[in-house]
Amino acid sequence: MMGVNEKRGSAFPEGGVLETPKKTLFQENWGLFRKNRLAMAGLMIFVAFFIIALTGRILTYGRDPYFNPALVRLQEKLRPPLSKPNMETLKPEEVPRLGIYLFGTDDLGRDVFSRMFQGSWVSLTVGFVAVSIAVVIGVFLGGIGGYYGSSQISLGYLLASVLLGGGIIGILLGGTAVGVLMVLLGAAVAAVLIRMGNSKGKRPIPMGFSVLFFNLFSVDVLITGLIDIMLCFPSFFLILTVVALLPASIYNIMIVIGLTSWMGAARFVRAEFLSLREQDFITAATALGVSNWRIIFRHMVPNAMSPVLVSATIGIATAILTEAGLSFLGFGVPPPDATWGNILSSGKDFLFDAPWLTFVPGFAVLIVVLAFNLFGEGLREVLNPKLRER
């Protein structure tokens, strides 16, 4: 055999292989995303919408805004879009800024364009805040379920949590005496648990107290149980119920939508965490002594985020649709604030006489929601290698 081994000693260039140009993960994903024209269109519309909403907020805010959405001009009611104002009947400050009623007026003579402008901010914030709440809750619960899933909850833990939690709620609701009592009891149980837990191996636990350590069920069962319970509620119906019972306000709506839509994110995160937990790089990190929190936040969460991201964008779309639906039924943001939903709602009585009151906000919602959906689907295709062309 030829003495290749001998050649090894010679001055051989180190590898010297042509390297593939490196792209960061983001660049690679962005490149793929860009090719999807529909998704790009979605992204651009989303950015445009964001800008419009922001300017809308600034220009329609306060008592004397640049575009006045609340100005009632009964003499100009139900004018079609692009119609000129009747200059004789209007005071100078009542004339619309652009010189014409760009989207017409509603049944109180208010300029629909200004109202749409104002409503865009509401739609935007409702979407984002609601989804943020949902994502935070979902990622938190899903993460705990996925990571600590097999940890067991003992009777003592449950007792202490219920007492403490119930006590705090009791105090808040006004039943101070009972509440304080429960909190004290809960603290006592917790103290016993901690004390005995620490000395578990060293000293035998006195009779009776060992029942406190009886394992009831695992964290995972708790979390999935919670998810299952929430899933039993018909979502729109539940939101409607709560919103109808609470005083009407934009914050209530956002919070309620957020509190009822975290289940999807939780399930995704839990599933991802469960599979990630078994992966070698996590075992390696644990073996290196990395703390639990760091593992969760630095290693697992970034990997689990892609389905959450996709469901978040689509969630914003759904939230906007839900808000529009609520307003339509009369339970949305209270007047005189304009939202796209309540413009639509006021339009339903004038369906044939003033169809623009239905079409303008309807199309607006359609376009924005479509944009988010397209963007979300584009994200999903990019982030999910299984769906890519091989």
């Binding site: 055999m1 290749v4 050649k7 051989f12 292989v17 042509l18 593939t20 090719k35």
Partner: protein, 324 residues
């Protein structure tokens, strides 16, 4: 019987062209066992898929060459005719037994399907033949096993079922794409033994793709060494193991742990296999080659005739051997 001429298969994505198979030619004669050897990423699987028209055509594209099977160019043939050839004249065994069988059908159904698709036989005849086949490939109690689903079987057993499916219609050529790579070494041994047996009994031609030189030594008559989409060396197994003539082949053989080098550090070819989209100019092995010279970086080397039926694509070693 099968001869591939100057086959080129490229993959296009994002304006990048990946030259997975860059002009290779090989042939398999009746009854012989040919091994296509190379590391992961050298294009051997793609060339095999191209034979049966299984290369996914949106990203992939066949850019040239011919694949002659019994005189006809498979690349020109209609899909319908290809379907008749697949599984009957030429059949293929894949690398991953765990995922290559359909999980919702019994293995009996799947083997029977292979028979019924190509031959007009009745159900019970197909049933009988399936049992025969399963016995041939070494599955115990085939009558009961037929009703099992793939997930009830071990990896080795699933691979045997794949082999049974491939042999169902007595093909002229069987292409086996690293059939034992995903299995334990002991199972690997059994499967190889099975292949040898079947080869003797049925006189079929076998194109065996692998990266394991030990396997090549066990079963092959002739071998082709592939690197970065091209054939680097071809010859009888004995010739090549005795006198490896391409620097890559030499490197491969040197990397085998052997008792003769006990106590010395293991050798490995420096560098890494090039990305099929960014191949070096000239001879693709030149960045890693201990014999590299200026000319290697310039022009693409031709095949040189070292011995009877033993060729290698390296003029440098050729000159060294024949020259002086």
């Amino acid at each position: 019987m099968l001869s591939v001429h100057d086959l080129k298969v490229f993959f296009h994505s994002d304006n990048i062209v990946s030259r997975a198979v860059d002009g290779i030619s090989y042939e398999v004669r009746e009854g012989e066992t040919v091994c296509l050897v190379g590391e992961s990423g050298c294009g051997k699987t793609v060339s095999a898929l191209a034979i049966l028209g299984l290369v996914p055509q949106p990203p992939g594209k066949i850019r040239g060459g011919k694949i002659l099977f019994k005189g006809k160019n498979l690349l020109d043939l209609d899909e319908k005719i290809l379907q008749e050839i697949r599984g009957r004249a030429i059949s293929m065994i894949f690398q991953e037994p765990m995922t290559s069988l359909n999980p919702v059908f019994t293995i009996g159904d799947q083997v029977e399907e292979a028979i019924i698709t190509h031959e007009a036989v009745k159900k019970d005849e197909a049933h009988r033949r399936t049992i025969e086949l399963l016995t041939d490939v070494g599955i115990a109690s085939p009558e009961e096993r037929m009703k099992d689903y793939p997930h009830n079987l071990s990896g080795g057993q699933r691979q045997r079922v794949m082999i049974a499916m491939a042999l169902a219609c007595k093909p002229d050529l069987v292409i086996a794409d690293e059939p034992t790579t995903a299995l334990d070494v002991t199972i690997q041994d059994q499967i190889l033994h099975l292949f040898r047996e079947l080869k003797e009994k049925r006189h079929m031609a076998l194109l065996y793709i692998t990266h394991n030189l030990g396997v090549v030594a066990e079963i092959a008559d002739r071998m082709y060494v592939m690197y970065a989409g091209i054939i680097a060396e071809v010859g009888n197994v004995e010739q090549i193991f005795r006198d490896p003539s391409h620097p890559y082949t030499m490197g491969l053989l040197d990397s085998l742990p052997s008792r003769a080098r006990k106590g010395k550090p293991l050798y490995s070819i420096p560098g890494a296999v090039p990305d099929p989209a960014y191949k070096p100019q000239g001879c693709p092995f030149n960045p890693r080659c201990p014999y590299v010279q200026e000319s290697c970086r310039g022009e693409f080397p031709e095949m040189c005739d070292f011995e009877d039926h033993h060729f290698a694509r390296c003029p440098i070693t050729y000159k060294q051997r024949k020259g002086s």
